[in-house]
């Protein structure tokens, strides 16, 4: 399979403009500015079938097309580099090893919606990556790819690298915009959607790093070449971050539709230390866990993973072997969500803390009869009752762990101890 997203990362000094240019970098940007209208660009990306890689999988070209063309307000393009989903580290790799691909993708998306100010919102902890992006932007300014009257076209564009300050919720697009407006990272009610009422009430598009990094290749090789890869509804390639009890953890680029089991067993070397698989989370910490028998026929594309009862999400694959305590794993993730809830909606603010407390007491031998149904009840009351997807992200994995490993939870409660690790 031809690598699209990871095509440059093994080249030495892949983060520099010299190397990026020597590999065809910014050729797509020049082609677009010199010969394509925004409409042609949007149609090309629509035809490629590219879907947002931040987790939701929304068609990218369609998202751009929602931006009103006749709005008198400024328009903003925001690259979402706030990668914080447990088990996900693909954007970090792209940012650190191939920052110009993300910058070029940001320019392309900005042009599609005719934005003249673009932001790259990178999570604050990634200081090294932020440095790489700042350097890439500076180099692109020097080379005339960013700035006034780009390639003599009359089109102006500025790019600002903006560092977050530590808050998972800022990966949610409306929370990210609240943060960028100088406030707490509080999600906003949708509708209105950012495409019409985004940053400072102006039309705004937020695209994930991986989505943007695919654009230069799509323009260079054509939408048809991209759409030729993958499945009917999930086109192209996708990055998977593989972690936990796996022989070869890391970031892998896979053609959409690749068999999940083969991916784990062959590409990733199987479960570490020859142990048996107990469960795997396919799409980052907010997605339901799958049991070994559930992944037998699953393929790595949006539809297949959904049919198996989970979601592809960010492609954060967390592998758990047969030594893993599933109560402990569920508690760990519940604690993550309790820590990261922004506190705006009461079902999430209260519910996440209750789920964390109950999981904790079960793990520590103080669980009570009825606790499992209580968590399922709390989880059910969060689902769909919050203004952003965070509530569902906290509720889904909690319920899935209990439903799929109920015996283990019941044994913890009955024996008043952790029955796996003692």
């Amino acid at each position: 399979m031809e690598k699209i997203l990871l095509r440059n990362i093994d080249v030495s000094d892949s983060h520099t403009l010299t190397v990026y240019k020597s590999r065809g970098g910014y050729g797509s940007w020049r082609k677009i500015v010199e010969s394509m209208t925004p409409e042609q660009l949007i149609n090309e990306v629509k035809a490629s079938g590219l879907r947002g890689r931040g987790g939701a999988g929304f068609p990218t070209g369609m998202k751009w097309s929602f931006v009103p063309k006749d709005s008198p307000k400024p328009k903003y393009l925001v690259c979402n580099a706030d990668e914080s989903e447990p088990g996900t580290f693909k954007d970090r790799l792209l940012i650190e090893k191939d920052p110009h691909a993300t910058v070029e993708g940001t320019l392309i998306a900005a042009y599609a919606i005719q934005s003249q100010t673009a932001f790259i919102y990178i999570r604050g902890e990634l200081a090294f990556g932020a440095g790489r992006l700042e350097q890439a932007v500076d180099e692109a300014i020097q080379a005339g790819y960013i700035g006034k009257n780009i390639f003599g076209s009359g089109y102006d564009l500025d790019v600002i690298v903006h560092r977050g300050a530590g808050a998972y919720i800022c990966g949610e697009e409306t929370a990210l915009l609240s943060s960028l407006e100088g406030g707490r990272g509080w999600p906003k009610v949708k509708p209105p959607f950012p495409a019409t009422h985004g940053l400072f009430g102006c039309p705004t598009v937020v695209n994930n790093v991986e989505t943007l990094a695919a654009l230069p290749w799509i323009i260079e090789h054509g939408a048809a070449a991209y759409a030729a890869m993958g499945t009917e509804k999930s086109k192209g390639t996708k990055l998977f971050s593989v972690s936990g009890h796996i022989a070869k953890p890391g970031v892998y680029e896979v053609e959409m539709g690749y068999p999940f089991k083969r991916f784990l067993d062959e590409d990733c070397g199987g479960v570490a230390n020859g142990r048996k698989l107990k469960g795997v989370i396919p799409g980052g910490g907010s997605m339901p866990v799958l049991r070994p028998e559930e992944i037998e026929k699953v393929n790595l594309d949006y539809e297949s993973v959904q049919a198996a009862g989970s979601l592809l999400g960010s492609g954060g694959v967390i592998v758990m072997d047969d030594s893993t305590c599933m109560v402990g794993a569920a508690w760990n993730l519940a604690r993550f969500f309790a820590h990261e809830s922004c506190g705006q909606c009461s079902p999430c603010r209260e519910g996440c803390h209750w789920m964390e407390k109950i999981f904790r007491r079960i793990e520590h031998g103080a669980g009570e009869k009825g606790d499992l149904d209580l968590i399922l009840n709390v989880s059910g009351n969060i689902m769909g009752n919050t203004i952003c997807p965070f509530g569902d992200a906290a509720a889904m994995p909690a319920a899935a762990f209990i439903k799929k490993y109920r015996d283990e939870f019941e044994a913890h409660i009955a024996e008043k101890r952790c029955t796996i690790t003692g």
Partner: protein, 157 residues
């Protein structure tokens, strides 16, 4: 004397604010400048940032208290932050934390008496493939073992 930016930082402040479409959008970069200059963001620093960004102090306070990287209280020279989220936990994060508390003689959330180290646990830092890991100030340290942690601590002044 009330806190204020040095002339150098003030210049950086002006440059930063001028790039943003609205002054308040520069909130986080300006708070980073303040944190670097003042060490932490106490009430005085918050009041100062509110003044120069023309924002209500309550709004700035709300922002500072929301984000984990903005410190309202003084911390040690080296802020050790061990990731505790599932992928790191599966690969022994708890052992690393236990080793650090023992080695430094402090509990989570505490600072050593010489103010050299502050120890915290944090959530996922996007370094799951190289777990367990920790961040010390701006730097990531990955694939940790107890021996490696000892070496890292000794290398820090």
């Amino acid at each position: 004397m009330a806190l204020e930016f040095s002339p150098e930082t003030l210049k950086k402040f002006e440059e930063t604010v001028n790039r943003y479409p609205k002054k308040e959008a520069a909130m986080l970069p300006v708070l980073y400048l303040a944190q670097r200059e003042f060490g932490h963001l106490g009430e005085e620093a918050i009041a100062y940032v509110a003044k120069i960004l023309e924002q209500p102090p309550a709004r700035v306070h709300g922002v500072v208290s929301f984000y984990t990287m903005l410190n309202m209280k003084p911390i040690g020279r080296h802020h050790i932050q061990v990731c505790r989220t599932l992928p790191c936990a599966l690969r022994g994060a708890e052992k690393i934390t236990g080793f650090l508390t023992q080695k430094l003689g402090i509990e989570l959330g505490q600072t050593t008496a010489d103010r050299k180290f502050t120890l915290s646990e944090v959530e996922c830092l996007a370094s799951c493939g190289t777990a367990p890991m920790m961040q010390i100030n701006d730097d990531y340290y990955e694939n940790l073992t107890e021996a490696k942690v000892t070496e890292i601590l000794e290398s820090l002044k």
